[in-house]
Amino acid sequence: MALSLRCFLRCGKNAVSAVRQRGFHRSVPAAAQVTVRDALNQAMDEEMERDERVFLMGEEVAQYDGAYKVSRGLWKKYGDKRVIDTPISEMGFAGIAVGSAMAGLRPICEFMTFNFSMQAIDQVINSAAKTYYMSAGLQAVPIVFRGPNGASAGVAAQHSQCFAAWYAHCPGLKVVSPWNAEDAKGLLKAAIRDDNPVVFLENELMYGVPFEMSEESQSKDFTIPIGKAKIERQGNHITMVSHSRFVGHCLDAAAVLAKDGIECEVINLRTIRPMDVESIEASVMKTNHLVTVEGGWPQFGVGAEICARIMEGPAFNYLDAPVTRVTGVDIPMPYAKILEDHSLPQIKDIIFSVKKTLNV
């Protein structure tokens, strides 16, 4: 609350109306079932309403309602000026979005999938991420790059890559990876209000999944701090760290393991960069065991970074076993279902890895 108030005060400036009436609570049930897609939609809608500098651009975001319908209804409500369909020109429109951020707007630049962001990656890294540093604070770039990341279903090698490690490598960027609807809404609102370039990695397979959203998370002021992980499940025997879709897999694995008397602590990273290593360390110092779970490739990945950070910190001395990484298989994504299924961590892989780590 305090953070969102600070954000509001900092970012308010020209565009936010001076008088904001909270008024009466909307009459909604205490908690509601909201899909990740709708949560993202609400986040963008609320932020566009709150600040007229915020606008959305990308392929099919306007008249098509979004390739994955994430921006449904926004063009109808806000019109051509604020929801812009672009031609298929990633490098061009990403650069245009960055330029508009430099000149005072707050763009949301959608990549239809992050695979296509590779065409524009120079604009994300060299024009957006590095500029505040190179200019010694003269030029900020308040932009959000969002879109689905990682594997979908049956879309094969060129459309299934996870870019978490690529973007999280670079100073000057914030990289966020929500799992559930609450994450999606709170983190996207925080990302839009952030004065820095944020890479917002969604997951296509999660768009349609409903989650319960607390009353608090339905507020128009609800934001989740970037850079803070969440403990989704408490446990004493082993720590599992994950992000995005695989948080759900970890929770499912934990439920199965609980029947064997193994209590897992599941940490949802929420933010890849800056990573909340402290939360992981605190947990490892309690459980003495760590398994990381991700969909991306193993080499130089998120799990690899976690291993290195744990080794460098106080938690190392509390480990009873080396850290285990559960990752996607180190191959381009195949098409055939049986092959695809075996290219990504399954629940049984997580269970197996936990037991191996615990030596049970």
Binding site: G92, I96, G99, S100, G104, L105, S135, A136, G172
Partner: protein, 393 residues
């Protein structure tokens, strides 16, 4: 001043009885100068335009002196940078602008301070015309804390209000410029964005993506190609299937302009800015210009062109000489006056160089600052796990 000297010398003559005063040249007073003149300027080649900029340019004495001062300052500043680079006080990349001064001076004369401008790495001239002091520019080149980017950016990364650098990746600044223009249109502020690129960058795909979107959305963007005939070591004939850079915008109207004549540049830029401000969308301008130095300080610049060619441009088309001759032959300024300006500029540049060589380097405590804007302080990993550095916004 000179009138006073005449009076004094005459008085001395009377006192001493000697003909001392005969040698004092009494120059004309300011009221003798022509306050304003009209000059014929070269016609621009047009693409998809019925009419172009006017064929005559008006110049007041004040403007003439101002353009002269601006161009001479950029010239001397770049030559000083050359000197400092050879002394190894400036390091890394240094792309000098001498020869092209009329472009920067002419454009700035045509636009408002609150219009926007973005360029590539040959940026020192524009950094100056957009308002950064010589001191701050040279100190940035020498990597000192008094540099405009506190020594963090260097030659290619200098910024100022309404000036977006200084960009190192060839062509990347063009979509950025179109985006700045989008912000102008979005905010309805009647401002335009001047987006510069070179003949080399003119073949980048992202330019054509930007042209398409700028035309589609009628963005107030003036795309300007500074064609100095060589993209690094590759001549335009060897790089481009079409060297008519003013036509490369295809469906976007274009002008080809004599970039060595500050008045030509000014009139064309004015025309272009009016075009954009009227809501017609983007326009392309090609400025035919020339750089005396090589591509950068590590390029002698004579392996792909002849010294004769460079000398020919210097003697026939130097932008400062062209303006000077106009001012003198039309009695708009005197040779001494211009010489005084030269002397004053040399001193200013020398003082700035003095500052740039004596100012301390940025303190190590600031190494990690400015990673994020409006952020609480964060810890940054140093070169080893025990090195924990602080980053402040």
């Amino acid at each position: 001043m000179k009138a006073m000297l005449a009076i004094i010398s005459n008085a001395l003559c009377r006192i001493t009885g000697k003909n001392v005063g005969a040698r004092v040249v009494v120059s004309r007073s300011f009221t003798d100068f022509t306050p304003q003149a009209t000059f014929d300027i070269k016609q621009c080649d047009l693409h998809r335009l019925e009419e172009g900029p006017p064929l005559k340019a008006e110049l007041t004495r004040e403007q003439g002196l101002q353009y002269y001062r601006t161009m001479q300052t950029v010239r001397r500043m770049e030559l000083k940078a050359d000197q400092l680079y050879k002394q190894k006080i400036i390091r890394g990349f240094c792309h000098l602008y001498d020869g092209q001064e009329a472009c920067a001076a002419g454009i700035e004369a045509a636009i408002n301070r609150s219009d926007h401008l973005i360029t590539a790495y040959r940026a020192h001239g524009y950094t100056y015309t957009r308002g950064v002091t010589i001191k701050e520019i040279l100190a940035e080149l020498t990597g000192r804390k008094g540099g405009v980017a506190k020594g963090k950016g260097g030659s290619m990364h200098m910024y100022a209000p309404y000036f977006y650098g200084g960009n190192g990746i060839v062509g990347a600044q063009v979509p950025l410029g179109a985006g700045i223009a989008l912000a102008c249109r979005y905010q309805g502020n009647n401002q335009v964005c001047v987006t510069l690129y070179g003949d080399g960058a003119a073949n980048q795909g992202q330019l054509f993506e930007s042209f398409n979107m700028a035309a589609l959305w009628k963005l107030p963007c003036i795309f300007i190609c500074e064609n100095n005939r060589y993209g690094m070591g590759t001549s335009v004939e060897r790089a481009s299937a079409s060297t008519d850079y003013y036509k490369r915008g295809d469906f976007i109207p274009g002008l080809r302009v004599d970039g060595m004549d500050v008045l030509c540049v000014r009139e064309a830029a004015k025309f272009a800015a009016d075009y954009c401000r009227s809501g017609k969308g983007p326009i392309v301008m090609e400025l035919q210009t020339y750089r005396y130095h090589g591509h950068s300080m590590s390029d002698p610049g004579v392996s792909y062109r002849t010294r004769e060619e460079i000398q020919e441009v210097r003697s026939k088309n130097d932008p400062i000489t062209v303006l000077k001759e106009r001012l003198l032959s039309n009695n708009m300024a005197s040779a001494e006056e211009l010489k005084d300006i030269d002397v004053a500029i040399r001193k200013e540049v020398e003082d700035a160089a003095q500052f740039a060589t004596s100012d301390p380097e940025p303190p190590l405590e600031q190494l990690c600052n400015h990673i994020f804007c409006n952020n609480p302080p964060v810890e940054v990993r140093g070169t080893n796990p025990w090195s924990k550095l602080q980053s402040v916004s």
